[in-house]
């Protein structure tokens, strides 16, 4: 038989343990896991900072070498000159289009930082076998794509020093603080608009863009 005193003591001990579990402000107080060793960190530490290229590794690559790798590994989706096959993204063009009715944001027209291009190709491309290229080939591809966009001359050699210095066209057009809320609607309840002014400006009816929403998945492709 348990005495009620014993139970409450046990409960207290549990509570104290729970309290220290929840607080745990001191580093290492749980002690779970293992220290990540420098070698382990080096294996995964692939990120590159766009603004100044911090994290770019040793190595280099030329525009010519980039053209070779690109033809083999990238052109099938992105087109020989970066024009994009089918719906795959364009890697060139759109310069001066950002205020147009149909803007074309690309590496050439939109990207603010060149090191980000190295980082993205390195981590995510080529799409079917990402993160399998050597650092040198990623530099070469970066040089080639920048050259396709007339951002660097044909003799450009991409490396950790040259890439952060490439001046991207849209570098200064980003605002990195969120200006929202940028609307100030008031919650009017009655007679908020004139009935005469309630007008449908667009409708999805009859557009034939909507895949079916019952039965099996749709494979529709509008013309």
């Amino acid at each position: 038989m348990f005495s009620s005193r014993k139970i409450s003591l046990a409960a207290c001990a549990l509570l104290v343990a729970a309290g220290s579990l929840a607080r745990a402000a001191e580093p290492g107080s749980f002690g779970y896991g293992k220290p990540a060793t420098p070698a382990q960190i080096a294996g995964w530490d692939i990120d590159v900072r766009g603004e100044d290229g911090a994290g770019l590794p040793a190595g280099k690559g030329t525009v010519d070498r980039g053209a070779e790798v690109y033809a083999e590994q990238c052109a099938a989706c992105h087109g020989t000159f970066g024009e994009g096959e089918g719906r795959f993204p364009k890697l060139v063009g759109g310069v001066g289009s950002l205020r147009d009715e149909r803007p074309e944001p690309t590496v050439g027209s939109y990207w603010p930082f060149a090191p980000t291009l190295w980082d993205y190709i390195n981590r995510a491309m080529p799409m079917p076998t990402p993160h399998t290229l050597s650092s040198d080939d990623v530099y070469a591809l970066t040089a080639y794509i920048l050259h396709l966009n007339d951002l660097v001359p044909p003799e450009f050699v991409a490396d950790r020093n040259s890439l952060p210095k490439v001046k991207m066209r849209n570098r200064d057009s980003f605002i990195w603080t969120d200006p929202r809320p940028d609307t100030t609607a008031k919650p009017c309840m009655n007679a908020c608009v004139n009935a005469a002014d309630v007008r449908i400006s667009s409708t999805a009816e009859g557009r034939n863009l909507t895949p079916r929403t019952t039965g099996p998945l749709d494979t529709m492709q509008p013309k």
Partner: protein
């Protein structure tokens, strides 16, 4: 799988526990003995499917159903086969970097069933071995750490209900009403109960250096998806989760580990999370420069627009769920706000001339889907049905016209405008926009 027994034979454990075969006759006799008196002496007729029920019993009322563990992991009724995530095939070059939409028109609560949670992948869904998965925390911290899933499960656990919404949800409506569907216009939002460890707990365990201001979070998928998040947000309410609605995360949702960044755009809720690095400055990754930035009419772009502004949508009626003749209906919908709780939802049936406040259903949780309803007697005349949410901060969901005035129609992301459904006299419903 159903046991492959002939229909007339069923297996029942006998008293000793071993299966005994019972013929159809003896079972029917058993039924007849029970119902005979009620049926005024006669055995009830075997259901005739052509006869409307009631009074006839349906076949499933006069037979035995499948036993327990017939479906050891349950699934919806066969008749619900249409309630699935769907994609827009022409939207993306391949399904590996693409999106699927949750069938909001068939969901009745604030929790999205795990199999229906919307998907957004950038390099397909990896199928990860949890025994090999690790989380590395390094950078501007005191103790670089490598954690296994077992380690992560030992930390104090927290469960919270939050929505996740892709900021491109509704993106196709920026220019005009395009897709005639609730699923395709609003289905990139879902909501689940997430269970895991507070990110602040993990970062306190590693010790944060004074200079640290930002975190870089990265996935183990082929995209090695990575984003920058201010340290303040990490310490405020982010969760590193391994469970979704009580069970392990679904592979599509980041199994075995994902980040949940409550109220912020879906893309920063990194799935298949494998690395967290603290630094002094943001990284300006491809997903926060080339993508997930908002192009304005003057050619400038907004970056780091993480917050999901308050939004609501009427889920009934909607294009997929038309009205069935005049009469009393319950207008139903969902509202949510990245800033906190939903304070109020108003509904209009006349295109925004007049509004009525809808009833919010409990629970009304911070940064979670919230259900609202309003009774409506429809007289069969044309109607324009819309909802408008107000969040705790007093922010009012804008019209698409108001948003366009500020942002033009090329910003792709963060379209949280009021959705108008046009109801025609025949009850059919269309996605429309008002001038």
């Amino acid at each position: 799988m159903r046991p492959k027994q002939p229909r007339s034979n069923v297996i029942l454990p006998d008293a000793g526990g071993s299966p005994a075969r019972i013929g159809r006759r003896s079972l029917l006799g058993f039924g007849a003995a029970l119902t005979g008196s009620l049926a005024l002496g006669g055995r009830p007729a075997i259901a005739d499917p052509s006869q409307e029920s009631p009074p006839a019993d349906a076949p499933w009322s006069q037979s035995m159903g499948a036993g327990v563990v017939d479906r050891p992991y349950g699934r919806p009724a066969d008749s619900e086969a249409s309630v699935i995530r769907r994609n827009v095939p022409w939207l993306t070059a391949s399904t590996e970097s693409s999106v699927s939409f949750s069938p909001l028109q068939d969901l009745h609560g604030i929790i999205t069933p795990n199999g229906l949670f919307f998907e957004r992948h950038h390099a397909g869904r990896p199928d990860i071995d949890p025994a090999q998965h690790k989380l590395m925390i390094h950078g501007l911290i005191e103790r670089p750490l490598l954690l296994t899933m077992k380690d992560i499960l030992r930390f104090p656990s927290t469960s919270r209900i939050h929505f996740i919404e892709c900021p491109a949800n509704g993106g196709m409506n920026w220019r005009a009403a395009q897709l005639n569907s609730l699923q395709f216009s609003h289905g990139m939002v879902s909501c689940a109960e997430w269970t895991g460890v507070k990110l602040s707990t993990l970062l306190e365990e590693t010790g944060i250096k004074k200079e640290a201001k930002w975190a870089m979070v990265e996935g183990a998928d082929g995209a090695h998806m990575n984003r920058s998040i201010p340290l303040d947000k990490c310490l405020d309410d982010c969760l590193v989760v391994y469970a979704q609605n009580g069970e392990a995360l679904r592979p599509e949702q980041g199994y075995p580990l994902r980040l949940v960044v409550p109220g912020w755009e879906g893309n920063v809720n990194i799935k298949w999370l494998r690395r967290i690095k603290l630094g002094e400055k943001p990284w300006h990754t491809r997903e926060e420069t080339s993508k997930y930035t908002d192009l304005m009419p003057d050619g400038t772009s907004r970056g780091f627009t993480w917050l999901m502004d308050a939004k609501s949508v009427v889920t009934f009626p909607c294009p997929e769920k038309p009205l069935d003749g005049p009469g009393l209906y319950e207008i139903r919908g969902l509202a949510w706000a990245g800033t906190g709780k939903v304070k109020r939802v108003d509904v209009s049936v006349d295109g925004g001339i007049n509004w009525q406040t809808a009833r919010l259903h409990e629970p009304v949780l911070s940064k979670a889907l919230t259900k609202f309803t309003l009774p409506w007697r429809w007289d069969g005349s044309p109607a324009l049905v819309a909802s408008r949410v107000i969040d705790e901060a007093g922010y009012v969901q804008p019209t698409i016209a108001e948003l366009r005035k500020r942002r033009g129609s090329n910003s792709i992301y963060h379209n949280n405008s009021i959705q108008t459904w046009q109801v025609k006299p025949d009850g059919s419903v269309f996605n429309v926009q008002l001038a």
